[in-house]
């Protein structure tokens, strides 16, 4: 696949000529596309291509040709809505005619299991140099170019580019947005994504001057790591919003069958969100609310929110939601209180929420919001709950006056409730650039996500740099399977992973000398390529306390396992204390190697306390993983006990991340338990599974 420079998509979104392939009879997709383009006042040329060279019904001015060669000039964009069996030859004719882009609406490919047919389309497109959107898609729009090549509701103009894997979700979002007057710069429904997908579109939109915010609806990803790199980079310049469907068992089942591709684990998707600085939203309404806020408000720099209202109840509900979502609704500082008291009537509450009561006036809103936005608060929500006898438009004016008089702009969102009685006020606010949300709770959600963007896109930056640094070239794993414990240990020790003092004993004579170095108590484990589950066969013994015991157990093991490939034993100094931690590496089908950490020992299953990140990552991200754990309180020194060596644990995670990237053959690696101490840590046991290694043949004591 050619990796096009971003400018190559300009003709996709702003073509001079469009050809519509397929029937243009009424009710057919070809006809719907012509209607949409015409009603949307497409400024370029349109023609139709179909066997009878028909013009679209009711559009006599639009010419029809039997094939491209008859057309006066080649189109820059082909819209293909012919039956599935003809798509391939139409793409071929497009390629021969020099058409650079084609959008394939036709369904009946990988989404119903016909993956071979879809692969063939892609081969043909590649061979003839045509770039594809689709098949099985709902088309594309560019509101600034007046280009509506889609069967969905025509979007209003705006600053959000919306990319969707599901055409129907796209249509629903556009229709909901239209109801609320929210617009888009571009719309892409890419359907089965045989060619152009979210990664290339993100690359292009990063520098699209008409796009301030990028919103995505995803069910699965084509290349998780490429996607992650793109989102990480783009998020630094523009917020990237994502709805990821398929969080539940039934949702995953449907997503896999719906898109014909494997949907990945939601937990790891959530890690990707954290690491890239993207913003996840649960559904369409939240997405629209957030697009509205992000495209119309300045950045929210901190978490301190003020709420100015003319009614207590809705102020409280807003406050509740804002705090639940991590914003701070602190009491007004005394300076602000004093200032408010100079002009507000005494029955007003000045604490925050600031309640102007139903008597609140235009002047009251203006002066209060000005004072609030001049104070230490980072943003504000202005709420008006009207009665039929209240002049909401005047209040809107007061809010607009406060917004426009700001020296250093801070986000100010409005909530006007509800219906006819506030319609004019809402209209006035929107014209003045203030977003208006249906409830205070939804405004609070938007500001909390804006705050998340501010904080996470900074962290993500370093994650991206880490990923981009790329010093970690993949290597083949230096030991062949089956890996014996002594080999695994010496390899991991070289990589800087700390283990208790240990020794590999192949002969009883080595014991006295070894014991002088190790001390007591000791753990002995049998070493043999044939013994997979050592514990099950009595191949692990704990609490050995003197030389005599060690000698006896050694000779006993040598005797018992002599016919099972006995090569010797590992002797470990037994670790008696420390907080038990589990950490390891796994492979995710979408994102590749990931690193996990969690509470070990008795807490493992009880509190289900774990965090995951996609490798590679750095110290900062490792620290963030630890902060996510419930046992983070224990690490910090729980109930007056001394703090544990959090730094050593974070180092171990970074080291695991490096190991995972350097040795892609590691399918699974577990350190369980790790004993974390006030100073340092020790790894109590290891399990490694390599790619291609039969399951159930890990080294270790399990």
């Amino acid at each position: 696949m050619a990796s096009p420079s971003s400018s190559t998509f300009d003709r996709l979104f702003n073509p001079k000529t469009i050809a519509v392939f397929g029937s243009v009879k009424k009710d057919k997709i070809g006809h719907q596309l012509v209607s949409q383009l015409t009603e949307g006042k497409f400024p370029g040329t349109i023609f139709a291509v179909n066997p009878k060279a028909e013009s679209p019904e009711g559009f006599a001015a639009i010419p029809g040709f039997t094939n491209l060669t008859q057309a006066p000039s080649p189109p820059e964009l082909a819209l293909i809505a012919v039956p599935a069996q003809f798509v391939d030859s139409v793409i071929q004719s497009c390629g021969q005619g020099g058409v650079p882009f084609a959008v394939v609406f036709t369904s009946g490919f990988s989404e119903i299991g016909n993956s071979n047919e879809e692969a063939k389309l892609k081969e043909t497109a590649d061979r003839y140099g045509v770039r594809l959107i689709g098949p099985n898609c709902a088309g594309i729009m560019d509101t600034h170019a007046g280009m509506y090549s889609s069967i969905e509701v025509r979007a209003l103009p705006g600053k959000t580019a919306f990319i969707t894997q599901s055409g129907a979700v796209g249509g629903a979002v556009l229709a909901l947005a239209k109801l609320r007057g929210i617009g888009f710069s571009k719309f892409v429904s890419y359907g089965n994504r045989a060619d152009i997908g979210e990664v290339e579109l993100l690359d292009y939109l990063e520098s699209d001057p008409q796009t301030d915010v990028i919103a995505l609806y995803l069910e699965s990803l084509q290349n998780g790591r490429e996607f992650m790199r793109a989102v990480s980079r783009v998020s630094r310049r523009k917020p990237v919003l994502i709805i990821k469907a398929g969080r539940s068992v039934s949702g995953l089942r449907a997503a896999s069958s719906h898109t014909g591709s494997l949907a990945g684990s939601d937990e790891i998707f959530a890690a990707m969100i954290r690491q890239t600085g993207a913003l996840r939203v649960p559904g369409m309404e939240e997405m629209l609310d957030l697009c509205d806020g992000l495209t119309s408000l300045p950045r929210l720099k901190g978490d301190r929110l003020a709420i100015v209202t003319n009614s207590g109840g809705p102020g409280i509900l807003t406050s509740d939601r804002a705090e639940e979502l991590g914003l701070s609704v602190k009491e007004s500082p005394s300076g602000l209180r004093k200032e408010l008291e100079t002009f507000l009537p005494s029955y007003c509450a000045v604490a925050n929420p600031i309640d102007l009561t139903v008597e609140g006036t235009r002047e009251g809103y203006r002066r209060t919001l000005q004072a609030v936005l001049d104070s230490e608060y980072d943003g504000a929500i202005a709420i008006n709950v009207a009665t039929p006898f209240l002049d909401s438009t005047a209040l809107a004016e007061g809010i607009l006056e406060a917004a426009s008089s700001q020296k250093e702009p801070k986000p100010l969102a409005a909530v006007f409730m509800a219906g006819e009685i506030v319609e004019e006020g809402i209209e006035r606010l929107k014209r003045g650039g203030i977003p208006v949300f249906p409830t205070g709770e939804r405004a609070a959600f938007v500001l909390s996500k804006m705050h998340e963007y501010t904080t996470r896109s900074v962290t993500a930056e370093s994650a991206h740099d880490q990923a981009a640094g790329g010093e970690l070239a993949p290597q083949s794993f230096p030991i062949e399977a089956p890996i014996l414990e002594p080999e695994a240990l010496s390899f991991l020790q070289e990589q800087g992973f700390p283990f208790p003092a240990h020794s590999y004993i192949t002969d009883a004579d080595q014991i006295p000398e070894t014991l002088r170095n190790l001390g007591f108590p000791l753990v002995m484990k049998v070493v043999s390529p044939q013994i997979l589950h050592k514990s099950d066969v009595g191949g692990v013994l704990l609490n050995l306390r003197d030389e005599q015991q060690v000698q006896q157990v050694f000779s006993d093991m040598a005797r018992r396992f002599c016919s099972q490939g006995f090569q010797g034993v590992m002797l470990y100094r037994q670790v008696m204390e420390g907080l038990e931690i589990i950490a390891g590496i796994k492979q995710d089908p979408t994102f590749g190697p990931v690193v996990l950490v969690g509470a070990g020992g008795v807490l493992t299953e009880l509190v289900r306390d774990s965090a995951v990140r996609i490798a590679p990552f750095g110290r900062e991200e490792a620290e963030d993983m630890l902060s996510e754990l419930k046992i983070t309180t224990i690490l910090a020194g729980y109930r007056g006990s001394t703090a544990l060596d959090r730094k050593a644990l974070a180092d171990l995670l970074v080291r695991l991340s490096d190991l995972a990237v350097r040795y892609p053959a590691i399918q699974e690696l577990d350190f369980n338990p790790i004993f974390l101490h006030q100073q340092g840590l020790l790894i109590g046991d290891v399990r490694i599974i390599l790619a291609g290694q039969p399951i159930g043949s890990p080294p270790g004591n399990s």
Copy 2:
């Protein structure tokens, strides 16, 4: 306060004559009320009372009088909007004139700290036999009586009664509801609740034939236990929905200042919800969605949900939300699959979500929904995501046909997305009695709450019976403070609480005989009314292992504490094992005595694992508390270990609940730790604080 029979509120909601007290000049509340009544076509008589006997501006037909005595007949309802200082005398004149009900709109009472003035209103009303709504309220409506005595948007008729502590929230809900065509039977904004509050209104609405669902917006409660009893009883007949504001710190602060009353702990409010079978909703949009569902759909009997859609993406998002909310979106059973495959095209997904694709027809929806509702599913959501070229009205007909052909009705909700293109379809569905939600996620929320109603209102029934059983007459606590440990123990033992073997030793001579009964190891604690924190002064010693040690420690304590009121020591057999649990009693300012249980020992702070219930409660509720705990997995036999005595722990909770109700003087009681065994349990330490007892003087070893 007289406890009226429910029929006494009939005249409040359906008065023949209404008098409006206060200025009726344009823009004044009196004038607004007259406008609302007139525009709402109030069928009775209206007159105004004001100093100049003025008719309302623009309403010449409505007479004005200077006082009630001039009126031809006394009104059944007085609407009072005079300045605060005149409210009391107006209430008096109403009483003298035989007016049974008054709604006081005037503000300036307890909400700004003037609680004495408010108490005086109540006294006057009681003295003259007038029942009050308000002060500081937004009025009342009865849509069936055509009575709109409120300054808020006039409600459409419907089957939900809405009671709100905040007039503004009331107004906002009514306006949002109107936008969506959702109606109400009655509306009450009771403001400061000087007289009539939520409890009496619940009692009345329980048997109101026009009300199927009761919705409440609350910031605080007047009498938590009365409220709980009322909700428990009413929930059995009609769903009771509650928005409780003030969940967050800032929200609580605002709620307390806003209503002038103490808002209680949200955790205990949540327990009340569980125990009564009420349904909690986070905000206004969720409340309206749920009212719409509950008033138009049959009960949801189980958790099995089917989703029928014409677009994959929105189906998946709905499925995700439904499972997150505890519904089951299981794969279609094979019988159903086979049936669907007989008439659906092969490209449709029949697994659930069932995806008819964009080609889905009226016939397809009808037959699919009929098959689904005839199968084992308990309810269904039908989703249509339209394009401008799709006939949504035909799909609506298909859905209606399926709904109306059901033998045994199951809930069927619809989602039609979005905007103009589906308006007619939505209209058609609503007229046919099918509720339509803006997104599938919101429909899933409604069905999950309907399922909660089905399951919880059954459990709540027994809770109510338990509370109603009321065999537990309050008694005075039999021991006076300061309570010494031997007294506390023998009292609690009599109540059936199990302690380790122990003995009270006042003289060294008692030791040998005592040790023969107790065994070893032992714990010794000093007994003295002057020693509060025994551990701090070396008054607790563990691990005593022989008689010599016991004798020595006893003589040592006797010597060390002889000048501090030494009366002897308690000797306990030391408990060496068992899962550590904490349980106890606390007093909640709103709901009275509550019982808590949680993980003890090292888990206490780490996992913050606790459950709370309002006393009294029975076995079933105690079991439910234990199910709520994270350590419920440990109780059941964690990681192959034997199960612990869950029954003994549940018994202890019920016993604590009885104790709490029987002895209201117990301000706080802690058993910490309790050692839970495979058979039975033992209480390791006790702390009791009685009402009036100085804080910091509990018995026990802390």
